[in-house]
């Protein structure tokens, strides 16, 4: 009996460490400690369950699984490149979703239908359905971020997705009401949920990827919470709900940053509207190019420079070269700062992580609002591999799909240099009128190659 109370206490401590951990993760100084505290709480909760819950046996299998999982997990997490971080998070998230789905399936097959009634079955169903969607969706998100899978859009997709979703839910509700073991139908429901996960993420373009990962993350949290209901386990419940609600808030914040409703993201509509206004920006004027040496002179004799990084910087792995340029310019007395758009890159904070890897000081990274305040007295904004987040159409063109999305007002600085491989449009698939502005010049080429040339030119000055 004493075990029971000790375990309850351990679960309480575990839950508190999760709250504390999340709290501490929200401040740069305490973030790392917060992560370790939550990890510590998780560890005692796991070992507490294994040793204090008397119904637990099969120690060999359990430890075998934990050892294998730990080795693979540590290895994968340590090996992964900083730029591939979003994929990795998506992958681990999918593992959690799969875990929730699998335990629900096993519990269903062993469920005693004479106890608990429809609600008990519904709990199992919810864990299975949400976990499966989260798993399949995360795998597709992983493939997309990794570049293995493209966006797939076809007419009527919204409707078909809705039908699939309702089918999955329908079978779940039916099984719950039937309150009688039907493993075949359960597996069909699982398959439908997996299929929905695939279809749900398939059409969504890169601009929405951060939102999708955050959403799937909160899905897995909710799936874990249903597991908590199923076992009447407090630490699973609080941990899962905590992540579910925190993840949802994070998702909504991101949607707001892009001026998109969550419904549109869920219905999988992004990118389909892109074609409509693609022609709008033609014959707006001429695009001016700038040579590397001119760009170097312009930068070296400026007082204040803003660098606006985007996904292109991550793809070209140019963060170190970028930092080198920044240091060189600082030596010449130029004030260099970074303007970070909340959804630049493929995940919120993607750019921060990337630049942190290159040892760019934390206080040089400005959030969008702060950066915009300083734009009018900035001499040059350098845009490296970003596009949609600096498109003035978001402020002015009501027909644009990104209208209303807050952007970094680079067009308000004295000069703008856009480093880009070509005139191709960004992830939202729309033309950028910024390129035609009189204070804008283009520097075509791979971000890393261009930056290296710039560094060489600035050195030579």
């Amino acid at each position: 009996m004493i075990n029971f109370y000790v375990l309850a206490l351990i679960y309480l401590i575990g839950s508190i460490t999760f709250v504390l951990g999340l709290k501490m993760l929200s401040h740069p100084e305490s973030a790392r400690k917060g992560n370790l505290i939550a990890a510590g709480g998780m560890t005692i909760a796991i070992f507490g369950t294994i040793f204090l819950d008397k119904s637990i046996g099969n120690y060999l299998w359990i430890f075998g699984g934990i050892v294998i999982g730990s080795i693979i997990g540590t290895f994968a997490a340590k090996k992964v490149k900083m730029t591939a971080m979003p994929q990795m998070v998506s992958m681990f998230n999918g593992m959690g979703g799969a875990c929730a789905a699998v335990i629900s399936i096993v519990e269903y097959s062993k469920h005693d239908f004479s106890h608990g009634g429809p609600w008990a079955v519904a709990t199992i169903m919810a864990g299975m359905l949400i976990g499966s969607v989260s798993f399949a969706g995360s795998m597709i998100a992983f493939g997309k971020l990794n570049g293995n899978i493209g966006d797939k859009v076809f007419p009527g997709q919204k409707f078909i997705n809705l039908v699939i979703l309702l089918t999955g839910l329908g079978i779940g509700v039916y099984l719950a009401l039937q309150n009688f073991g039907n493993n075949t139908l359960l597996l069909i429901a699982t398959a439908v949920a997996l299929f929905y996960g695939v279809m749900f993420v398939m059409p969504i373009g890169g601009a929405d990827m951060p939102v999708v990962i955050s959403l799937l993350n909160s899905f897995t949290g909710v799936a874990a919470a249903f597991g908590g209901f199923m076992y009447n386990n407090q630490v699973m419940l609080t941990g899962g709900i905590l992540v579910g609600s925190a993840g949802t808030i994070l998702t909504i914040l991101m949607c707001k940053a892009m001026n998109r409703s969550l419904f549109n993201v869920i219905a999988g509509a992004f990118g389909t509207a892109g074609g409509a206004s693609a022609g709008a920006a033609s014959d707006k004027g001429t695009v001016k190019e700038i040579s590397v040496s001119d760009a170097a002179v312009l930068l070296a004799y400026s007082k204040k420079v803003f660098i606006v990084p985007g996904y292109g910087l991550a793809v070209a792995q140019a963060q170190h070269t970028c930092h080198e340029l920044e240091k060189l310019l600082e030596e010449k007395g130029v004030e260099v700062k970074y303007a970070i758009h909340p959804v630049a890159g493929r995940m919120p904070g993607h750019m921060n992580v990337l630049l942190a890897e290159a040892d760019v000081p934390y206080d040089k990274l400005l959030e969008m609002e702060d950066a915009n305040g300083e734009m009018p007295n900035t001499d040059v904004s350098v845009i490296i591999g970003a596009n949609d987040v600096v498109n003035p159409a978001a402020r002015s063109d009501k027909s644009s799909p990104i209208y209303g999305m807050p952007i970094i007002d680079v067009d308000k600085s004295q000069n703008v240099i856009v480093m880009k491989r070509s005139m191709a449009s960004g992830y939202a698939g729309i033309d950028n009128e910024l390129f035609y502005y009189p204070n804008n010049r283009m520097l075509f080429g791979d971000a890393k190659a261009s930056l290296q040339k710039l560094v060489a030119e600035v050195k030579a000055l």
């Binding site: 999340l22 993760l25 929200s26 973030a31 992560n35 998780m42 909760a45 796991i46 369950t49 294994i50 819950d53 119904s55 637990i56 046996g57 099969n58 299998w61 359990i62 699984g65 999982g69 693979i72 997990g73 540590t74 997490a77 900083m82 971080m85 998070v89 681990f92 998230n93 959690g96 875990c99 699998v102 335990i103 062993k110 976990g131 993350n217 949290g221 874990a224 597991g227 908590g228 209901f229 076992y231 407090q234 630490v235 699973m236 609080t238 899962g240 709900i241 905590l242 992540v243 579910g244 609600s245 925190a246 993840g247 949802t248 808030i249 970070i340 995940m347 904070g349 942190a356 934390y362």
Partner: protein, 90 residues
């Protein structure tokens, strides 16, 4: 039970709404690791599997591996991200 749910939702909202966007990726990663608590469900499935229920043993074993991947991978990745924030703060 409902009481705990509402309290947890509230806590999650409160904690998140004060996060600067620069920390969003580590935070998402940290939250990702925390929902790895499903591993406790996996341990329960595995630990209660009868010796002759091979499906439960195999699936349980599998889910323990998946859950551990989520927990360990999640925390290690988060730590790696935050390590970099630390280094250049000096």
């Amino acid at each position: 039970m409902i009481y705990i749910v509402i309290l947890s939702v509230f806590l999650g909202v409160e904690v998140i709404s004060h996060v600067p966007s620069v920390l969003h990726t580590p935070l998402m990663s940290g939250a990702n690791a925390i929902h790895g608590v499903v591993i406790i469900g996996a341990i329960i499935v595995m630990g209660r599997a009868e010796p002759d229920n091979y499906a439960a043993i195999v699936l349980g074993f599998f889910s323990v591996i998946l859950g551990t991947l989520n927990v360990v991978g999640g925390f290690v990745v988060t730590d790696r991200m935050l390590e970099m924030f630390k280094k250049k703060k000096k």
